[in-house]
Symmetry: C2
Subunit: 133 residues, 2 copies
Amino acid sequence: MDGLQILNANKIRPSGLRIKILEYILSHKTHPTIDEIYAELLKDNPTLSKTTVYNTTRILAENHLIKTITIDGQQVRYDGNVAFHGHFRCKNCGRIYDFNVNHVPEEAELKDFLIENMDVYYVGSCKNCNENL
Amino acid sequence: MDGLQILNANKIRPSGLRIKILEYILSHKTHPTIDEIYAELLKDNPTLSKTTVYNTTRILAENHLIKTITIDGQQVRYDGNVAFHGHFRCKNCGRIYDFNVNHVPEEAELKDFLIENMDVYYVGSCKNCNENL
DNA sequence: CAATTATATTGTAATCATTACAAAGTTATA
DNA sequence: TATAACTTTGTAATGATTACAATATAATTG
């Protein structure tokens, strides 16, 4: 399913920019920031405004087509993989890695709480950086 | 162990403000923001500067005496409980709840990764708010 | 098709948490 | 006491995000 179909299925008017922004996030596993998305799409869309990237990612996130990652204290990042998984941020190279979380804690303390979103964020030094120190 | 002893044990010069800020965070389970700490301590310290609260919390966090919580996309919060546990933020009332995380995922994908910090953030609607809707 | 309305995009200005930095105050040390 | 080191303060700068009004584009109606 491509961006056009996804947007239509979610009743979001599929403008050219929306399709491109959604498809960029879906096809890049790098958890890009607003600036990264903007810089990349600017190449083919010279009049693109950063505000449009902000607006569009907000709409996509509100509709659960992408996920907002706040592991970086500075900038929000976006993830096209909305299935539950953890994120590891390397303090050294800045890369964000995905990992599976097998055991989702069933917390008795949260009985009768409505959980809408779960984030698991690890921070440290990645294998690649550890080996090259 | 009070703030003075903790600071001494960690070789942080125990100024009056540092003791007060540390003790405030240790004794309040509300995960206060900078503004909340500042507003509260200002009552007894009329010349207190917000910069001091920022500086001090940074020092305390660097020394792992308190933990930085970034579950709120807007403001950082601080937690005096540095033992591993999860945080639940209620979108309704804004309260942050602690909960135990029994099963820390052992992720084969992170083999040879050095994990320095783990955060588990849930967001949703708390029991209290659910009952009063 | 033309006119009108609704929506998308843009650019600039505002907001707000945080940081940088220099000056002033305080404590420790010689 | 004098000097150096550190703490605290206040103001200015930074930078991500949002607000908002103007413009452009697309959909709808007559």
